[in-house]
């Protein structure tokens, strides 16, 4: 009986705090994405215009985001029936966008960012009582042009 109460409490806590955190995070992501809209970020290997380049620099951004208890439970349910695990989709989407944003913050003053690569790794996946958290790492080359 107590076990069920504990699980239900954790689910409720996870649902409330998790959805508040996600909502705030999306809000902040959208705001900052607007802020950095003027820097073209592309996956091409070569700069759009090779003239007038002052210097290039490797820029990085990373973030580790953990899933909440409720979402993990929902993912467990989805695991039984199959189909999209939408609770994890938003988690990964948030992590990816956050990592790219941090990369852009690192590349302050750059005129463009090229060769963007993203890498995901799950932390601690082989351990017992594994933590459902992922790391998203973004790296790219920032191009600085002569004024």
């Amino acid at each position: 009986m107590i076990d069920i109460i504990i699980v239900l409490t954790l689910l409720l806590l996870g649902f409330i705090f998790g959805s508040i955190a996600e909502k705030n995070h999306y809000k902040s992501i959208r705001r900052r994405e607007n802020l950095f809209k003027h820097i073209p970020t592309i996956g091409l290997k070569n700069p759009i215009n090779p003239d007038n380049i002052r210097t290039t620099r490797l820029v990085v951004g990373n973030v580790v985001i953990s899933v909440d208890y409720f979402k993990r439970f929902m993912a467990f349910i989805s695991n039984i029936f199959g189909g999209n695990v939408s609770s994890y989709e938003t988690l990964i989407d948030r992590a990816r966008r956050e990592a790219i944003l941090r990369l852009k913050e690192d590349a302050k003053g750059a005129s463009e960012i090229i060769n963007l690569k993203l890498e995901a790794s799950s932390i601690n996946k082989s351990a017992k009582g594994s933590i459902g958290s992922i790391e998203m790492f973004a790296y790219a080359t920032a191009i600085y042009r002569k004024k």
Partner: protein, 104 residues
């Protein structure tokens, strides 16, 4: 030392190649950090401690790669790639590699 993940540096000529240079670190987690992570596991959200930990480790790996390139006499590292692998439960390896070159 110029480090980039593109294959050439615009408007600079490559004089000589020194081959692949790399650096790696294996980091284990901290018990205190793990405790916080366990809490966050219920509420969700960013694990700032882990973000920092991985960032530091990556910087250290990059430092090692840079040192290797410098000892070869290179002044730039091109085509840098990162990779992560989990060695054992609770420890992960961060590996970075690139091509050391001398540019004009």
């Amino acid at each position: 030392m110029i480090i980039t993940n593109i294959e050439s540096i615009p408007n600079r000529e490559i004089i000589s190649h020194f081959g692949v240079v790399s650096g790696s670190t294996v980091r284990a987690k901290h018990v205190g950090r793990d405790l916080m992570a366990g809490l966050k596991n219920i509420f969700g959200g960013e694990l700032v401690e882990y973000t920092e930990l991985l960032n530091e480790s990556r910087e250290e790996a990059m430092g090692r790669m840079k040192k290797e390139a410098q000892s070869l006499g290179a002044n730039a590292i091109l085509n840098v790639r990162f990779s992560t692998s989990s060695v054992a439960a609770g420890a992960s390896e961060l590996y970075v590699y690139g091509t050391a070159v001398k540019i004009a």
